[in-house]
């Protein structure tokens, strides 16, 4: 049987991708950001999974306002890095895992989650920047990736509770897959940031760190936090943090009351407009 071995949480700032792609990682400004991922790169080399289930949000790339899905699962064999307006990032093509993706879609839709099934799409920085942070600049990504896009752009967006329960359904789906795959689930986006209006640049360290504490220790309670608290406390784009609850919901700790092991925790302000948060949790 397949199982979820670990979950990874990280911000997905486009400027981080640009810094990597333009060879600026050695600059003092960026060195501090990338230092937080040195451990993670080594960890991922030692703990390379068979598949990564990567939860992210599309930033007006694959989905236009013509059609916005709440949850979309990528079932294709590969996904091209998108041209978001700067030209495509010079990163490897993302290989999918159609069999596991289709299995998860089947199971999760049976569990009353109304996914949009995607057989073709381009993936933007929301997906490729976390891969770059965790893998550096390889010729090919270390394993297949199942992209899972969440609408956090056009309201109404799904609630934290809905996301957390979705994570649980994903765990159940993975565990019912009849091959011994090691699967990691990544939740990306956040932490506090606001990109728009006179409040642009908002950062809330206290909120972010409390969020990390509660995500580790009591995610079911954290999942009850209403949207307005994210927006007010963590900025209009801080709402992306609901995606971390999907990854956390897929971990076992919540069920057997055994908290997952914190392999790594990192927090840094700023990368561009954003507070960078990063966690690695292992199922014990």
């Amino acid at each position: 049987m397949a199982r979820i071995t670990a979950s990874v949480y990280t911000s997905h700032v486009p400027a981080i991708g640009a810094a990597l792609d333009l060879g600026k990682t050695g600059e003092p400004y960026w060195r501090k950001v990338f230092a937080g991922y040195e451990f993670s790169k080594a960890w991922l080399r030692d703990n390379t999974p068979d598949v990564i289930f990567l939860v992210y949000n599309d930033h007006a790339t694959a989905f236009s306002l013509e059609m916005i899905p709440t949850f979309a699962i990528g079932c294709a064999a590969e996904f091209q890095p998108a041209d978001e307006g700067w030209g495509p990032r010079p990163v490897p093509v993302v290989k999918g895992h159609p069999e596991l993706a289709a299995h998860i879609a089947q199971s999760v839709i049976q569990d009353d989650f109304d996914l949009c099934i995607v057989n073709k799409m381009a993936v933007d920085h929301g997906l490729t920047v976390p891969l770059s942070l965790m893998c550096g600049q390889p010729q090919a990504w270390p394993c297949p990736v199942i992209p899972f896009a969440v609408n956090v752009v056009q309201y109404p967006v799904p609630s934290g509770r809905r996301c957390f329960n979705l994570g649980r359904a994903i765990r159940k789906a993975v565990e019912s897959y009849d091959r011994p795959l090691k699967v990691q689930i990544w939740g990306t986006g956040g932490m506090s940031h606001q990109l728009q209006g006179p409040r642009a640049g908002l950062i809330n360290r206290e909120f972010d760190n409390t969020f990390l504490d509660r995500l580790i220790a009591d995610p079911a309670d954290l999942a009850n936090m209403p949207h307005i608290d994210y927006v007010r406390e963590a900025g209009s784009e801080g709402i992306e943090l609901v995606m971390w609850l999907i990854a956390r919901g897929a971990m076992s700790g919540e069920f057997d009351k055994r908290a997952p092991r914190v392999a790594h925790r990192f927090y840094h302000v700023p990368a561009s407009n954003t507070a960078v948060g990063h966690l690695i949790l292992e199922n014990t």
């Binding site: 059609m67 996914l115 099934i117």
Partner: protein
């Protein structure tokens, strides 16, 4: 608050569009089918809906297999019909109700239905033909519309119990809208038919009639069946009857039959018509 005046479930087949275009309503092949509609038109004239919420499935006009939603809803001011490739006449645009659509979206996502929202949407024969049958020759159509698409094409499909709950949430969304609008809920598709494979032409009259009866008296009856069960019992395209179940769910509570008709065949399809009213 908006009021649900009742619901109508009906089969959709592109072929019907051609029969209408060629005035074949009295042709012996078509008569038993078209004769089902006058009582429904009389009922509509009596209950006078302002808005039709139309629950159907797209057949490769608006959605392609690149991105296939389980549940999608329109939020446009106008919905265009377009060439579907099989030579039926294209009908003029249908008026939407953007405020109402967004109210429904808010309410449905609040109730944990993971909608795909569409601010542009082409509507195909599964949407246009039923409206043409209910309001023949009336262009523009006399009601405003909200199209809701259920995936019946690419598996996995939403299971019947989920569709019924989705319908109930649609009903609550309608009834919580701060408006004096009168709303009719329309479900289209089915009944038993199969277009593909060596089993093409499959019809299950016994099941269809039972389904129509149970939809009135015990709509949860059909939720005992899984989607593969329904494929087996009603054919690969017969599963479209989940659109009927969704529409029935939206009527919230007990209903009485206003009118029903059942006739085999229209093209490859067992055609059904069921008009219901809350009691």
């Amino acid at each position: 608050m908006a009021k649900i005046v009742g619901g109508i479930n009906v089969t959709h087949v592109p072929y019907i569009g051609r029969a209408i275009a060629n005035n074949l309503q009295q042709d012996p092949y078509w008569k038993p089918f078209f004769d089902g509609f006058p009582p429904v038109r009389q009922w509509l004239a009596k209950v006078k809906p302002d808005i039709a919420v139309v629950i159907y499935n797209d057949h490769g006009l608006n959605f392609f297999l690149d991105k296939m939603p389980t549940f999608a809803i329109g939020a446009a001011a106008e919905y265009n019909n377009a060439d579907e490739g099989w030579g039926i006449p294209t009908l003029p645009p249908y008026q939407g109700d953007v405020d109402f659509s967004w109210h429904m979206i808010d309410s449905l996502i609040e109730e944990e239905f993971d909608m795909v929202t569409c601010q542009e949407m082409l509507v195909d024969h599964a949407f246009t033909i039923p409206l043409e049958l209910f309001w023949p020759g009336q262009h523009p159509c006399p009601v405003r519309t909200v199209p809701i698409c259920v995936n019946t094409v690419q598996f996995p499909l939403p299971k019947p119990a989920r569709c019924f709950k989705f319908g109930q949430a649609i009903g609550r969304a309608i009834e919580s809208w701060d408006s004096d609008a009168r709303v009719v809920v329309i479900g289209t598709g089915g009944l038993s038919h199969q277009l593909d494979g060596q089993r093409a032409g499959f019809i299950n009259k016994e099941f269809d009639l039972m389904f129509m009866e149970k939809l009135i008296s015990d709509p949860l009856w059909v939720t005992r069946y899984s989607i593969p069960d329904l494929v087996e019992l009603t054919g690969t395209q017969g599963v479209e009857l989940i659109n009927w179940l969704t529409a029935r769910g939206a009527l919230l509570g007990e209903v009485a039959k206003v009118h029903a008709n059942y006739h085999v065949p229209i093209s490859n399809t067992a055609s059904g018509l069921l008009c219901m009213e809350s009691v």
